[in-house]
Symmetry: C2
Subunit: 174 residues, 2 copies
C-alpha cells in the first residue's frame, strides 16, 4: 500500500528559529531575552528595529539554527510509516537555499534529496498531511493541516495544534 505523505516545514518546526533569533540578538546587543517576546506577535515584529529581517539576511543564520527538540527522532519514526517530504519556504532569502540544504544534510542525513522541496509559497503542494507554523501555508493545504505551535501563531484557532514533536508522533503514529 502506498504510504501517506507528510510535508514538514523547516523554520519553526524542524528548526528552532525563535532560539536562533534570541541567540543573534544576545550576540549583537548583549541582552538575553526569552521566548515570551514572540507570544502573540507577528514574527517580523518580535524584535525591535527590523532585527528579525536583518538576522534572516545574515550569512549563517539558517546554517546554524538549532534543531527543534525531538525533531530528528520524530522524523525518523515518521519515515517508517509515511513518505516524508521537507517543504520549506526558501525563495525569499537568497542565502537560505544552500544553507538549508547543508543544514538538512548535517542534521537529517536520512532524508533523500528527492524528498526535499524549497519553494516560495506552498499553494501547489499536495500531501496527506502538512506540519507548519504558518496559516499562510496550512490554509491552502489539500490534506490535513497540523499547526506547529509558535509564539506568532498562538491566536490561531482554526487548525489542529501540536505543541512539540512528541505530540506530532502521538497524533500520527497512534
Amino acid at each position: 500500500m502506498k504510504k501517506k505523505s507528510i510535508a514538514i516545514d523547516m523554520d519553526g518546526a524542524l528548526a528552532d528559529t525563535e532560539s536562533q533569533y534570541l541567540a543573534y540578538y544576545e550576540q549583537e546587543f548583549g541582552e538575553r531575552l526569552t521566548k515570551d517576546i514572540f507570544r502573540h506577535v507577528p514574527e517580523a515584529e518580535a524584535l525591535p528595529n527590523g532585527c528579525i529581517y536583518k538576522f534572516l539576511y545574515t550569512p549563517g543564520f539558517f546554517r546554524t539554527v538549532p534543531v527543534m527538540e525531538g525533531a530528528v527522532e520524530a522524523v525518523k519514526k515518521l519515515q517508517e510509516r509515511y513518505e516524508v517530504y521537507i517543504v520549506s519556504a526558501a525563495m525569499e532569502f537568497p542565502l537560505s537555499l544552500s544553507e538549508k540544504k547543508e543544514w538538512l544534510a548535517e542534521h537529517f542525513p536520512f532524508i533523500h534529496w528527492r524528498n526535499i522541496i524549497f519553494c516560495g509559497n506552498k499553494n501547489i503542494i499536495d500531501t496527506d498531511y502538512m506540519i507548519d507554523d504558518y496559516c499562510k501555508n496550512l490554509d491552502y493545504c489539500k490534506g490535513q493541516p497540523i499547526l506547529f505551535s509558535a509564539g506568532h501563531n498562538l491566536g490561531v484557532n482554526h487548525h489542529i495544534r501540536v505543541q512539540n514533536w512528541t505530540e506530532v508522533l502521538n497524533m500520527l503514529l497512534d
Copy 2:
C-alpha cells in the same frame, strides 16, 4: 475566477540544456556535435565518458545555459491567463540551487519568488498543467501532463507532445 495553474520545468523546457551540453563539449574537446546525438538516447548517455554528469557538476553550467527559443515571451503570455509556477528538479546538483535562482532572475525577472519551486522529485506538485521533458515527472502529474519534446524523450508516446513554445501557446491560449 481563480486562474488555472501551470508547473513549468526549467532544464529541457525553459532552458536549452542540449545546446549547453554541446557548447561545453566543444569547449573541452574542440569538436562541434549536433543535437542529433541526443535523439532516442538517455540524456546521461548522449556524450561519452560521463561528460554529461561532469558538465552538470561544473560551476556555471546552470547559470549560463541558453534560454529555450521563445520561452520568455511564452511565459509572459501564459501569465496573463494562468498562475505560472516554475518547478525545477534542483536538489541532485548542489550548485544548481543558487545558479538556477540567479538564472531565473536574469531571464525571467517577471516571475515572483513565490512562484518558484526547487525540488527533488515532483510527486507532490499539484497543478492543472505540467510542462516537462521527463516522464518521471509527468507520470505523477495530477493535472494535464504536456511533454516538451527533447532528444531523450522521442520514444515516449503516452503524453501530449509539444515541439516548442509556439505549440505550448497554441495549446493553452486557444
